[in-house]
Amino acid sequence: MSGGRGIRFPLLVAGLASLVAGLFFLSLAVGQVWIDPLSAFSGGSAADRLILAEIRLPRALLGLMVGAILGLSGAVLQGLLRNPLAEPGLLGVSASASLGAVLAIHGGLVAVHAYALPLSALIGALLSVLLLQALVGRSGEILTLILAGVALTSLAGALTSLVLNLSPNPFAAMEIVFWMLGSLTDRSMVHVGLAGPFIVVGAVLLLLTGRALEALSLGQEVARSLGIRMGRTRALAVLGTALGVGAATAVSGAIGFVGLIVPHLLRPLVGHRPGRLLPVSALGGAAFLLAADLLVRVILPGRDLKLGVVTAIIGAPFFLWLLLSLKRRAA
């Protein structure tokens, strides 16, 4: 039925899933030293087992979940706004979530309850999405949207720096880089537990928009005449993004461009169908981030190269190219 346009959907899903599985395995194996995850648990040293279970497993799990939610939310935002440039990083959602997380940590909320961290990041993300919606309205006009995202990113970034600079802790200033560029280095199962549930719920909400996004290909009016409730769709997208991206950012910092690149690369493979794009973007996002995180470890081991550096080095030129191709098409 896919009729020559795109690969068969189940095949694509299976292919991406095995790619993710392979990268996940590599993510466990690659580090300061190579550890074979299969043999480590039967005959490896105690140190190997601990490193696998407490350092590399949480890192790989977070790479998987954070990448998946970033790819997925990018695909949903693009479908909702019918704009291939929409992405949580570019729109300032990630930066706002970072601000929320930083406020929770340095405002002492985290000391009260650990879940204050993802919740506060979630609120930051939610406010940014609502603000974007208020600014851009329903037109989803491309220029306004991107500019609003730029403004929001700078503002949230500046406020994050302010909070960290005001901190009495001298090491806080070093965190600015983390919150703006993101990293999965030396995270623990605690972080998986903090972010995991929110990311899973967020992903479910986002996946529920699939049908509506398909219908939205024909514009809002036809979508509504096809029985799509736009209010519900918007609420699902906003809440899902806030929950997922908020929690992901709370533990990994703001990682940009994943939600931009991944849906764009995969779109032709699903015949440009915005609903089908969702599950594959989640898988693709996971694969992309796991690969980027592996790259970080291989290129400059021990230097804690930030993940966002890698995704931006790949993503920013890609973004420019995308802008150019959009301009050519509009001309």
């Binding site: 802790n169 001298p170 280095t185 030396d186 804690d304």
Partner: protein, 294 residues
């Protein structure tokens, strides 16, 4: 409450890493002109470490102002004494207004300010952070000369050496355990640093030195576990304040691998600057481990 955390951070990192070689050369050149003539009477110090050296050596009334960090009890050993003096924030304007006849600065911080002050004709002496005990003695001697307090400097140097000698005499010939430092953001310190010298003087082998690291450098947690030092030492001060940077010190893998009996906690203030009180850091660290080479 707003403290310019960045400059403090620089001071901390610098102390941990021991700065660069070029900084030391600069200090030597800068100091040559100050030792003769009448003693300076309006001395302003702009750096936490020079603040403390000056406080230990200066005659009453000789100091006009210290950096604001000197009176910060979380980083300064001599905060109580420093509080009696006015503070500066390392800005050229406020330094000029104090009309100093000698400005003492660190080689690493406020470069632009130092250059400006020199251009405006002020006498500025720069001190490189101490990277070892010899540097401490040298800085003490030089500070004594600058302030015309040579006798005081000599007395402090002798006391410092006496204490060190006593501590090294305490150590038996037993196996020396390995100690690695682990700070916020997964930082550890390499060899050739003040930290390495303190750790060695306290009767340990220094992990950063044995791993061939240099300066302040990131050590991934898994590398620390693989290196498996007998003790992991962290600084106490900033672990209580919530920050993402400090989370690494409570990472489950770190906690599981190094039980509480293998974690040591030191007082940051004695480690930031190389000074006569550095010997306190050695004493405290040596006393932190029960028994001897067990």
């Amino acid at each position: 409450m707003c403290r310019p955390a960045v400059s403090l951070l620089a001071a901390v990192l610098l102390a941990l890493s021991g700065a660069g070689a070029s900084a030391g050369e600069l200090a030597g050149v800068a100091g040559t002109s100050g030792e003769v003539g009448s003693p300076p009477l309006r001395v302003v110090s702009m750096n936490l470490c020079t603040d403390q050296l000056a406080l230990l050596l200066a005659a009453p009334g000789q100091l006009r102002a210290l950096s604001h960090l000197a009176s910060d009890e979380s980083v300064s050993v001599l905060s109580a004494r420093a509080r009696a003096l006015p503070r500066n924030h390392g800005l050229a304007e406020e330094i000029l207004r104090l009309d100093p006849d000698l400005v003492i600065a660190g080689t690493y911080t406020t470069r632009a300010t130092v250059n400006l002050l020199r251009r405006l004709g002020l006498r500025v002496a720069e001190f490189a952070p101490a990277r070892n005990f010899a540097d401490i003695r040298e800085n003490l001697t030089r500070m004594g000369a600058l302030l015309h307090r040579e006798a005081q400097a000599r007395a402090l140097t002798e006391a410092f050496d006496r204490e060190l000698a006593r501590l090294s005499a305490d150590k038996g010939g037993a196996r020396r355990p390995v100690l690695g430092s682990y700070a916020a953001n997964s930082y550890t310190t390499g060899g050739g640093t003040l930290e390495a010298e303190i750790v060695t003087a306290a009767g340990f082998r220094h992990l950063g030195t044995e791993l061939g690291l240099s300066g302040a450098t990131r050590l991934p947690l898994e590398s620390l576990i693989v290196a498996n030092p007998d003790y992991v030492m962290s600084w106490r001060r900033w672990t209580a304040t919530p920050a993402r940077s400090g989370e690494i010190l409570t990472h489950p893998a770190l906690q599981k691998w190094f039980g509480p009996e293998r974690r040591l906690w030191s007082d940051d203030r004695y480690w930031i600057c190389g000074a006569p009180f550095t010997v306190e850091a050695v004493t405290a660290l040596a006393a932190a481990v029960p028994g001897d080479g067990s």
